[in-house]
C-alpha cells in the first residue's frame, strides 16, 4: 500500500512545472558558479605557489641564524569551493621565528589580490543550496496536505484502509526522492568539473568529506520540507500556506541571520579589556628589557649598544612592536652582520656572550606573553565569534552552514589547525637551535665565515586534519539537524492523526 502511495505521489510531483524549474535552476546556478569558483581557486593556488617559492628563496639568501624568519604559507583548501567559510578571508601567510608565537591574527594576505574586490560578496556552492534547496523544498511541500484537503482527495484517500502515518510517509519519501534529483544532478556536474580540473587534486578523504556534505544537505532539505508540510497542515487554504511558507523562508534564510548579528554583536572589541591585556604584556617585555640592559651595562664593553664596538657592515634592530588591534606586543632585537673588520675580531666573543645569554630569555618571555595573549584573544575574538555562531543556529541555515564548514575544514577549527602547525614548527626550530647550540656561535649574528645550511633546519609541512576529526566537528550540527527533523515529523504526525478532514 505504501508503495502505491509513493508511486502516486512521485508521478504527481515529477510531472509538475516546479520540478522542471527546480532542476533547471539548480543546474544552471551550480555549474555557472562552480566554473567561477574553480577559476578563483586556481588563482589562489597560483598565488600560493609563487609565494611559497619566493619565501623559500628568501630564506636561502639569509646568511646568519638570527635573521631566520620563515614566511610559511597556507595552501587554499580545495573544498572551499563547497563552503568557503573562513578559508578565503583570513590571512594566508605568517612569519615564524623564535622570538614570536604566531597566531591567526598575525597572518597576512599574499600581495597579489585587488583589495577592492572585497566589496563584492562571494558565493559558494553551499550558499546556493542554502537559498535554493530550502525554497524548492517549501515549494514542494506547501500544498502537500492543504491542496489535497482543498480538492477533497484527502478525504477520499482516508476513506480507504490506509493508515494516516503511511500517507505522511509516502508524501515525505516521494517528495524527498524528487528533491534529490536536482541536488544530486547538480552535485554530479560540479564533481565532473572538479575532477577534470588539473589544479584541484582531491584525496579519497575529500570524497568522503563531500559525502558528508551531501548527507548534511539531505538533512537540511528535509528540515525545510517538514517545515513546509507543517505549514500546509495547519493552514486551511493552499494560498495561505504558500504565503506563510514564503514569509517563513524569507525570515529564516534572508532576514534572521543578518538581523540577529546586526542587533546582538558589538562591532568593536571592548577597549578596557584590550588595554589591560596590552599593559600586562608590555610589562613582561619591559622587565625583560631591564634584564637585557643590565647585562649590557655589566659586560666588559662599555655602553648599551649591541654592536659591542664591532666594525662591520650590517644592520641591527631593537624595538618593542605593538599592535593593539591584534593584541600583540613583542620585542625584536638582533644583529645581522655581513662583513666584520679584521681589527674587530677580539670584540666578537662579547656579542656571542650576549646572544647566548639573551636568546633563551627572548624565547621564554615570548612564551610567557603568549599565555596572556592566548587568553586575551580567546576572550576578545573567539568568544564573541562563537556566540554569533550559536545565535545563527536558531535558523536551520546556520546549522547547515557550520556543519558543511566543518566537513570542508574551512571553519575556525580547520584554519586554526594550520596555525597550530605553525606554532609546532616554531617549537621544532627552537629545539633545533638548542640542540645545535647556535645561540652562542658567531654564525648566529654574522654570516661572513660560513653560510648557514638552511636545509638542515626542520622543514614546515601542513596536512589538513583527517576525516575523523572533520566528522567529530560536524557531528553535533548534523545531529541537531536530524533532531529537528524528528521533532518536526512527530509534531506533523500528531497533528495529522488528530485532525479532522
Amino acid at each position: 500500500m505504501l508503495l502505491t502511495l509513493i508511486r502516486r505521489e512521485l508521478l504527481d510531483n515529477l510531472m509538475t512545472f516546479r520540478f522542471a524549474a527546480a532542476v533547471f535552476i539548480m543546474l544552471l546556478l551550480v555549474v555557472a558558479n562552480t566554473v567561477v569558483l574553480l577559476k578563483d581557486y586556481e588563482r589562489r593556488l597560483a598565488a600560493y605557489n609563487t609565494a611559497l617559492k619566493t619565501h623559500q628563496d628568501k630564506v636561502q639568501e639569509l646568511k646568519a641564524y638570527s635573521g631566520y624568519e620563515l614566511n610559511i604559507d597556507r595552501p587554499p583548501n580545495p573544498l572551499s569551493i563547497f563552503n568557503a567559510g573562513l578559508d578565503k578571508r583570513l590571512g594566508n601567510q605568517v612569519r615564524v621565528y623564535h622570538a614570536f608565537v604566531p597566531t591567526l591574527w598575525d597572518a597576512k594576505m599574499h600581495g597579489s589580490d585587488n583589495p577592492f574586490l572585497n566589496i563584492f560578496t562571494s558565493i559558494d556552492i553551499i550558499f546556493i543550496f542554502e537559498v535554493i534547496l530550502s525554497l524548492i523544498a517549501l515549494l514542494f511541500a506547501y500544498d502537500a496536505l492543504a491542496g489535497e484537503r482543498e480538492r477533497g482527495t484527502l478525504r477520499l484517500v482516508l476513506a480507504q484502509s490506509v493508515r494516516r502515518g503511511h500517507i505522511l510517509l509516502a508524501k515525505y519519501i516521494s517528495a524527498m526522492l524528487c528533491l534529490l534529483v536536482p541536488l544530486l544532478l547538480s552535485l554530479f556536474l560540479a564533481m565532473i568539473l572538479l575532477t577534470n580540473n588539473h589544479s584541484v587534486s582531491l584525496s579519497p578523504d575529500d570524497f568522503l568529506r563531500i559525502g558528508g556534505i551531501v548527507l548534511t544537505s539531505l538533512a537540511y532539505l528535509s528540515v525545510f520540507y517538514f517545515i513546509g508540510m507543517l505549514i500546509s497542515e495547519v493552514s486551511r487554504r493552499t494560498s495561505t500556506a504558500l504565503m506563510l511558507s514564503m514569509f517563513i523562508w524569507g525570515f529564516l534564510v534572508l532576514v534572521y541571520p543578518n538581523m540577529i548579528l546586526a542587533v546582538m554583536s558589538p562591532s568593536r572589541p571592548p577597549r578596557a579589556q584590550v588595554d589591560s591585556a596590552m599593559k600586562q604584556m608590555e610589562q613582561i617585555w619591559e622587565e625583560f628589557d631591564r634584564e637585557r640592559k643590565g647585562f649590557l651595562i655589566n659586560d666588559p664593553v662599555p655602553g648599551e649598544s649591541i654592536w659591542f664596538k664591532i666594525g662591520a657592515v650590517g644592520g641591527s634592530h631593537e624595538h618593542l612592536a605593538k599592535r593593539a588591534s591584534a593584541l600583540d606586543v613583542h620585542f625584536r632585537t638582533g644583529l645581522n652582520l655581513e662583513e666584520i673588520n679584521e681589527r674587530s675580531e677580539p670584540q666578537v666573543p662579547h656579542a656571542q656572550n650576549y646572544f647566548r645569554f639573551l636568546e633563551p630569555r627572548v624565547i621564554s618571555t615570548a612564551e610567557k606573553t603568549w599565555l596572556l595573549r592566548e587568553q586575551g584573544l580567546k576572550n576578545i575574538f573567539v568568544k564573541p565569534a562563537s556566540i554569533d555562531r550559536i545565535l545563527l543556529k536558531f535558523s536551520p541555515v546556520g546549522i547547515y552552514d557550520s556543519a558543511t564548514q566543518a566537513w570542508a575544514g574551512t571553519d575556525l577549527h580547520g584554519i586554526r589547525d594550520f596555525f597550530d602547525a605553525a606554532r609546532q614548527h616554531r617549537q621544532r626550530v627552537i629545539d633545533y637551535f638548542y640542540d645545535t647550540k647556535v645561540f652562542g656561535t658567531r654564525q648566529w649574528f654574522a654570516g661572513d665565515k660560513q653560510a648557514v645550511d638552511w636545509n638542515a633546519l626542520p622543514q614546515f609541512s601542513f596536512k589538513r586534519s583527517d576525516i575523523g576529526i572533520n566528522t567529530e566537528r560536524a557531528l553535533p550540527d548534523v545531529c541537531l539537524l536530524l533532531l529537528i527533523n524528528v521533532i518536526l515529523f512527530t509534531v506533523i504526525f500528531l497533528i495529522f492523526v488528530k485532525s479532522e478532514v
Binding site: 546556478l29 577592492f116 566589496i119 504565503m243 524569507g250 534572508l254 532576514v255 542587533v263 562591532s267
Partner: protein
C-alpha cells in the same frame, strides 16, 4: 474607474495575511537598521574628527618650507557619510584615509625622498573570525525584502482572478483592459507603500530624534531621492509580477517562475557576474608594483649618481634637486597607475552587474548616500587634487622669496623664511550632490527603462490574453 479597481485591490490586500506579515517584517528590519546606525555612527564621526584634527595639528606645527615640502600633509581622512544607514556600500573594505606623507628611500647626508600619496588597502577581514553577514541597510531592505514582497503581492493578481473566474466577470463589464491592469498595479503599489512608508518613517524618526546624529537639509534632500529610487525599484518588481501573472495559467506556476527569477537576478547575478567580470582583467600585484618601483628607483639613481655627489656645491645641489623632483613624480605615477588598474577592474565588474536591478539599486543608493565605491573614487580624486595644490603652494612660496636659490628638493636650495601655518592649504573632503547625480544618472535611466519595458510588456500581455 481606475481608482475603483485600485481601491478594491487595496481592500483585498489589507485584509490579507501577507499585509500583516509585511508590516511586521519591514518594521523589524528598519528598527534594526536604525539601532545599528545609532550605535556605530557617532563613534565613526568622533574618530574621523579626532584623527583629522590630529593630522592638521601636525601640519600646522611646521614652519620651515623644506620641512613642509619633505613630509607632506600627512594622513588625509575621508569624511564619514551621514546617510550610511541607507547604503553601507562595503565601506569597511575601502580605506578611511590616504597616506600623504609616505616616502621610501633616504640617502644620508641630509637629503631624502619627498613625500608621495600612498593608497593603503583596508582589509578588516584579516582579524575578523565572525561569520559573514550582509549589512542590514536600506539596500538590503528594499533590494531583497521589498522586492520579494512586491512579487508576493502581485503573483496572483491576474492568474488568481482567472482561476476563481472573477476576471471574466470583471471584463464582461464595460471596462477597458488597461484600466484593469493599471488599477491592479496601483492597488498593489499603494498596499505595499503603506508598510514601507510606515517602516521608513519609524526608521527616520528614531534616527533623527537621537541627539547624536544631525541630518542636514541636504541629507534630507538625498533621503527624498533615495525614497523615490526605492519606489521605482519596487514598481519594477510589481510590473514583473503582473507580467508573469498574466502569462501563466495558474498562480502556483506564476509564483514559482517569479521566485526563481527573483533568486537569480537578486541574489546570484550581482556576485556571480562580478566574479566573472573581475577575472577578465588582472592588475599587477602589489609585489610586482614594489619590484617595479625598486627598479625605477635604481635606474634613476644610477643616472644621477655622480651629479648628486662631488665637491662642487652648486652642481651637487642642482643634481639632488632634480633627482628628488623626478623621483617623486615617477614613484607617484607608478603608484597611481597601479591604483587605476585596480579601479578599472572593479568598475568593469560593476558595470556588468547592471544586468541585475538590485545592483542598479545598490549603485544609485550608494551614490546618493555618499558611500561605496564611486564615493571612494571621489575621495581619492579630492586627495589627488589637494596634493597638487599643496605642491603648488610649496613652489609658489619658494618663488616669492627672492633670497632662495629656487632648488626644491634639498634644504639648502629652498627658502628659509618661516611659513605661517594659516597659509598652508588644508584638506577637506567634500560631498557634492551634483556630482552624485552624474554618477547615478546612468543607473537611474536604466532602472526607469526596465520599469517601462516591463510595464508595457505586462500591458501587451494583458491586452492580448484570452480569459
Amino acid at each position: 474607474m481606475i481608482w475603483h479597481i485600485a481601491k478594491r485591490e487595496l481592500y483585498d490586500n489589507l485584509n490579507n495575511l501577507r499585509f500583516v506579515l509585511a508590516i511586521m517584517l519591514l518594521i523589524g528590519l528598519m528598527i534594526t537598521n536604525a539601532i545599528v546606525y545609532l550605535r556605530e555612527h557617532p563613534t565613526r564621526v568622533q574618530q574621523y574628527r579626532s584623527s583629522a584634527t590630529e593630522s592638521l595639528e601636525v601640519l600646522k606645527a611646521r614652519t620651515d618650507l623644506y620641512d613642509i615640502a619633505l613630509n607632506g600633509p600627512g594622513d588625509l581622512y575621508k569624511q564619514p557619510a551621514p546617510l550610511r544607514f541607507c547604503a553601507d556600500g562595503g565601506e569597511s573594505f575601502l580605506s578611511e584615509f590616504v597616506d600623504g606623507g609616505y616616502w621610501m628611500w633616504g640617502y644620508g647626508d641630509g637629503f631624502r625622498d619627498f613625500w608621495l600619496l600612498n593608497y593603503p588597502a583596508s582589509n578588516p577581514n584579516l582579524l575578523n573570525i565572525r561569520p559573514d553577514v550582509t549589512k542590514v541597510d536600506w539596500v538590503f531592505v528594499v533590494g531583497y525584502v521589498l522586492s520579494l514582497l512586491a512579487l508576493l503581492f502581485t503573483f496572483d493578481s491576474v492568474s488568481g482572478e482567472r482561476e476563481r473566474g472573477t476576471l471574466r466577470l470583471m471584463l464582461a463589464n464595460s471596462i477597458s483592459r488597461h484600466t484593469v491592469l493599471f488599477g491592479k498595479f496601483l492597488g498593489a503599489l499603494i498596499s505595499l507603500c503603506i508598510p514601507t512608508v510606515i517602516a521608513i518613517l519609524i526608521n527616520v524618526l528614531v534616527i533623527s530624534t537621537s541627539s547624536a546624529v544631525h541630518l542636514s537639509s541636504e541629507a534630507w534632500e538625498r533621503l527624498g531621492i533615495i525614497i523615490v529610487i526605492a519606489l521605482v525599484y519596487t514598481c519594477l518588481f510589481l510590473a514583473l509580477g503582473l507580467l508573469v501573472s498574466t502569462r501563466t495559467q495558474r498562480s502556483s506556476v506564476s509564483l514559482v517562475v517569479l521566485l526563481l527569477a527573483w533568486v537569480i537576478f537578486v541574489i546570484f547575478v550581482p556576485s556571480t557576474l562580478a566574479s566573472i567580470a573581475s577575472g577578465l582583467s588582472s592588475p599587477i600585484s602589489f609585489d610586482e608594483l614594489q619590484k617595479r618601483q625598486n627598479q625605477l628607483h635604481r635606474e634613476l639613481w644610477d643616472a644621477y649618481r655622480d651629479r648628486t655627489s662631488g665637491d662642487e656645491t652648486l652642481r651637487r645641489t642642482q643634481g639632488r634637486s632634480e633627482y628628488i623632483i623626478e623621483q617623486q613624480e615617477q614613484q607617484e605615477r607608478s603608484r597611481r597607475e597601479h591604483l587605476n588598474q585596480q579601479i578599472t577592474q572593479v568598475q568593469q565588474a560593476r558595470s556588468v552587474t547592471r544586468v541585475s536591478p538590485t545592483a542598479i539599486l545598490q549603485h544609485s543608493l550608494e551614490a546618493f548616500a555618499g558611500t561605496g565605491f564611486t564615493r571612494h573614487l571621489q575621495f581619492l580624486e579630492n586627495t589627488q587634487r589637494y596634493a597638487r595644490e599643496y605642491r603648488e603652494f610649496v613652489e609658489n612660496t619658494d618663488r616669492s622669496d627672492p633670497e632662495s636659490p629656487h632648488l626644491i628638493g634639498v634644504p639648502e636650495g629652498m627658502s628659509k623664511k618661516p611659513v605661517s601655518p594659516e597659509a598652508i592649504p588644508k584638506f577637506e573632503d567634500t560631498f557634492s550632490l551634483g556630482k552624485d547625480f552624474n554618477t547615478a544618472a546612468i543607473d537611474l535611466l536604466l532602472l526607469t527603462l526596465f520599469v517601462m519595458v516591463l510595464l508595457s510588456a505586462a500591458y501587451l500581455a494583458f491586452v492580448r490574453v484570452e480569459v
